[in-house]
């Protein structure tokens, strides 16, 4: 009695003499191997050769600075709220007089951490950010020996002050954002 009607009868046919030698089958297999030796390779020699990434590839994050080198992030917490993996944490602090050249707004993130093991690179933090402070880049998160190394603080996330070393994110900005930046009365994006 069978539980289903999908049973199959397996044929236990006796193999012929040639089949029992196995040699023809071995040569057929070797032939396939040889054919693949001369075919175009599916792999590349990373890291000497790198594959081109899409312009909007979502790799590790960068915290942007503005034109004058001030940190854009104001620790509003919307990225952490939008993050489905809860990878982002931050502690905010108040800007003191004399620090206007370091931080754009009167509040800034004194600690900003992304746990790269938790992050799923969905880019929701990028969409949530009202200050255009966080962007995902085409860089890949480096491998580490320990878990602690994957918790990226501001030292790893923040882009350099040096203008030549800034990370270009212009291709990631949507037409809506670029249009919005042209509006004269929206001065928060200057």
């Amino acid at each position: 009695m069978s539980l289903t009607n999908r049973t199959k009868v397996v044929s236990q046919k006796r193999m012929s003499f040639l089949e029992r030698l196995y040699l023809p089958a071995i040569f057929v297999g070797m032939g396939i191997t040889l054919k693949h030796t001369f075919m175009k390779k599916a792999t590349i020699r990373y890291p000497e050769v790198k594959r081109p990434f899409s312009d909007i590839y979502r790799g590790r994050h960068v915290l942007k600075r503005d034109e004058q080198g001030r940190e854009r992030c104001t620790a509003c917490g919307l990225c952490a709220l939008a993050c489905p993996a809860e990878a982002i944490t931050m502690i905010s602090a108040e800007r003191k007089p004399g620090e206007e050249h370091l931080y754009r707004e009167e509040k800034y993130a004194i600690v900003y951490e992304i746990n790269m093991l938790r992050c799923i690179y969905c880019g929701l933090c990028e969409s949530a950010c009202p200050k255009e402070a966080i962007f995902l880049t085409q860089k890949i998160v480096d491998s580490e020996y320990h878990r602690e190394g994957f918790i990226y603080g501001k030292d790893k996330l923040l882009e350099p002050v040096d203008k030549d070393k800034r990370i270009d994110v212009s291709k990631r900005q949507t037409p809506e954002v670029l249009n919005f930046k042209k509006l004269p009365n929206e001065k928060h994006n200057i």
């Binding site: 509003c76 919307l78 709220l81 809860e86 905010s92 707004e105 509040k107 009202p130 928060h188």
Partner: protein, 324 residues
């Protein structure tokens, strides 16, 4: 007693009740939003114009409509009055304009502001406003003032609702801050930067519908949606001691008064409770506070909202509009 119909819902209220209070008795979607009116403060209302409604029929005797939209917070009902709020396109259009006016001088620095997430102006502009601004001119700018050791005044964000002035007049004895100058130059300030040191002065933070008056002990500490609001009480000699503590783990980040569904304070609390008792041992924690599911504070808390948990005591007296 007067019978009034608001958006098709008919209710009988006492003479002298305002349209807004009658609408709140009915409850639900038809309650006009308020920015300056505060039912606990005498004389408040009539300034922000967000609660404007259309009176389609003045009374049973006078069936003509009122010529202009009226502020529902300060217009008393009359017998047989027919009011339109969300059913009138004119009211909704006007409300949109009012939001635009309120935002003219508002800096929109919500990412910085501590009130973000529980701000009445944010809710109002989300629901009734437009997402672009037509205002090209410069906004008013003021310096940030310390009002006493605990309160910070960001005059840029103020919408001049006068609630804090009424609170200081009616809840505390001896008001020090008030409105200076006139018209579009008017501003909330203290006379020569005097400090408020009254026991109940911290309540101006709770009544402020925007982030103009904020708690200095909570300044930039966290965002409201990262904290867990818990009902708590303590034995306080000066106030009722019933408050909400906003916790992160075992730490109390701030203490506020309990607010009802219209964001109005139920019991005003004293400064000792609000600013100085920030240790878990000071409070008897009752349990998590019910937060509306639409609020950003409840995001990621995955609480199932109980249906019909609020029972309207006058529900039986309300006549519902006929089904179409």
């Amino acid at each position: 007693m007067a019978t009034v119909t608001i958006d098709g819902y008919t209710i009988e209220v006492e003479d002298g009740t305002t349209i807004l209070e009658a609408a709140r008795k009915i409850g639900g979607e038809i309650v006009p939003p308020t920015m300056c009116y505060y039912s606990k403060l005498k004389g408040s209302g009539g300034k922000c114009r967000t609660c404007l409604v259309k009176v389609a029929q003045t009374s049973a005797q006078n069936t003509r409509p009122m010529p202009k939209l009226v502020a529902s917070c300060s217009t008393p009902v009359q017998d047989g009055m027919v009011v339109q709020n969300i059913t009138s396109p004119e009211v909704l259009e006007t409300r949109k304009a009012i939001v635009e006016f309120l935002l003219i001088n508002h800096p929109l620095d919500c990412p910085v502001c501590d009130q973000a997430g529980e701000c009445d102006l944010q809710d109002l502009s989300f629901k009734h406003g437009v997402d672009t601004s037509r205002f090209d001119e410069g906004k008013r700018e003021f310096d940030i003032i310390d009002i006493g050791p605990y309160v910070k005044l960001h005059m840029n964000r103020c919408i001049l609702c006068y609630r804090c002035v009424f609170t200081a007049n009616q809840i505390t004895n001896g008001r020090i801050h008030g409105v200076l100058y006139r018209g579009d130059a008017s501003e909330i300030s203290t006379f020569i930067k005097n400090s408020i040191d009254n026991d109940f002065s911290g309540n101006v933070i709770d009544v402020c519908p925007v982030g103009a008056l904020t708690d200095k002990t909570f300044r930039f500490k966290s965002r409201v949606w990262f904290l867990k609001p818990m009902d708590a009480h303590r034995d306080c000699p000066t106030c009722s001691g019933k408050a909400v503590v906003w916790m992160h783990g075992d730490d109390i980040y701030r203490v506020t008064a309990r607010k009802d569904q219209y964001h109005e304070v139920e019991d005003f609390i004293c400064n000792t409770c609000r600013f100085e008792k920030k240790s878990t041992s000071d409070w008897v924690i009752e349990g998590p506070r019910k937060i509306m599911r639409t609020s950003i504070i409840s995001v990621n808390h995955y609480d199932k909202e109980k249906q019909g948990s609020v029972i309207n005591p006058v529900a039986k007296k309300i006549q519902k509009p006929a089904e179409k």
